[in-house]
Symmetry: C2
Subunit: 301 residues, 2 copies
């Protein structure tokens, strides 16, 4: 029943119209694991540098996240500096230092080879495939990707896609990967590449879930305060996979519920900079927002 994520652990420096933060803990594996930790046990496979202190590992441990898969390498931790302007829909990368991530070869601890739920965060598709093959018994493997890999490593990405159950991807990237502007056609094309389940993230416009023959569209939760979109997509994936791992149910109805839990986790993530809001959640807050989410979308005909 446990859930494993491979991805980045990073120090982020972020500027948005609502403030800024310098060198705070971030990265896809961090957002995913903290979000998913509210649903059950999570293990992280990642790499950090010598500048990654005990106080940072403590953040994971406080959420009972298994960190034995976090390898420490010589050098500095991955760093990203970015800025959001206007409606904050797109990040502008100001600086990116791969550092220890450059030579990262993710290893799934032997004791975790039987993990059933796996999320391959947005890293080199070669590495995603490498990890995927270390968890041969997984019942549900989802992955993320981005324009950088679609443009530069399409063949590798396609190999990875053949071996995953779900792709969780941004709208623009779904269009780029499939060659279709129309999202229904884009999803169909991506399904032919391997993943039966395609989740298209549309930022402040919500999420659409494409499964065999069925489509579900959920709006984004409408926040009045929204400070920093960093990590929203990975927090979504954390809620989505967390709910699937907790229930073990891949029915259409439960996949829809997983999308709602994902959306709710993303909505919390963006309320504050970095992991702050996700770290001080309560299960009651999560369930409360799921009910508000239902209120936001409910109608009778």
């Amino acid at each position: 029943m446990s859930l494993l994520v491979v991805g980045s652990v990073a120090f982020d420096s972020i500027r948005t119209p609502h403030g800024e933060a310098e060198g705070i803990l971030g990265g896809s594996a961090s957002f995913f694991s903290v979000a998913a930790s509210w649903f059950g046990p999570v293990k992280v496979v990642a790499v950090v540098g010598e500048d990654f202190g005990e106080e940072h590992l403590e953040v994971f441990r406080l959420r009972s996240i298994e960190t034995t898969g976090i390898e420490r390498a010589r050098g500095k931790t991955f760093r990203w500096k970015g800025e959001y302007v206007g409606d904050m829909n797109d990040a502008r990368t100001l600086d990116l230092q791969l550092n220890v991530f450059q030579n990262f070869s993710p290893k799934v601890p032997e004791s975790d080879a039987s993990t059933e739920y796996v999320f391959l965060g947005n890293i080199d598709p070669k590495l995603q495939l490498h990890v995927r093959r270390q968890v041969p018994h997984a019942r549900m493997v989802a992955c993320d990707s981005m324009n950088y890999w679609i443009e530069g490593s399409l063949d590798d990405l396609k190999k990875t896609l053949r071996e995953v159950h779900a792709l969780v991807i941004n709208e623009g990237e779904a269009r780029m990967l499939s060659g279709h502007q129309n999202l229904r056609k884009a999803a169909k094309e991506i399904q032919k590449m391997g993943p039966e389940i395609v989740v298209i993230k549309r930022g402040e416009h919500g999420v659409s879930l494409f499964t065999n023959g069925s489509i579900f569209s959920a709006p984004a939760f409408m926040l009045e305060e929204f400070k920093d979109p960093t990590g929203a997509g990975d927090s979504f994936a954390g809620g989505f996979m967390g709910h699937l791992a907790r229930t073990g149910d891949f029915s259409e109805a439960n996949l829809r519920r997983a999308v709602v839990y994902g959306s709710v986790m993303a909505s919390f993530a963006v309320e504050e900079f970095g992991l702050k809001r996700l770290l001080r959640l309560t299960p009651q807050e999560i369930e409360g927002r799921v009910r508000e989410f239902a209120q936001l979308t409910r109608f009778d005909v």
Copy 2:
């Protein structure tokens, strides 16, 4: 119970990635009235030129739309030429000839002064106010507007807004009008200007309805074939107001239903160029798509 619309009747020339059409019947009042005609009686107040033939009036009459408010003036009918590229989210205007619209002073026929439901299409806010004052007993007046008036005639627009119940407006224009990027804040600010009901249209991303203290978000119906976005917003408004006029019920639940009917009418409008698809609908098709719409958004928690 009847519904009146003031707006443009035009000849449109349109190019999209899926084809083109030359000099076809369009304009906000045309799309609105044809969409609304599936819900009950509609009357149009507009102006056309000498080039507007009986065959064009016949289009309205076939849908039992009252055309006595369509004034014929010397000169040519309003013409718009536009193109959509890529994801077709924004129209590029290639040519615009106001023609008879330039000196239009809309007159509500005396027999219609007691109309209860009114839609003020996207025209000069001075004219919208002029019409609004000719229907003093209206129970529900909704209006549309656009960046052109927000930038150039803000004072007039604010005067109009003080006397309407609902504003139906695009996302970008809601932000421009309110000065808020955040849509919840934008809607609150607009509500302070007059309309209790704010409907924000987000194109392929759906619609959000803001009423006193409540928010409803509906995704757009997800089409595989989508040829021409022209008139989608006015078709939405036609379904929205058509359902309200047919039911006379302004409860939150029924406003939500009206948003769904509006979304369904918009989804039909964009399937073909111009009014084509809206003209050959059946009530069964409308109800069928409303049920599909429910399927698209339904989840249980």
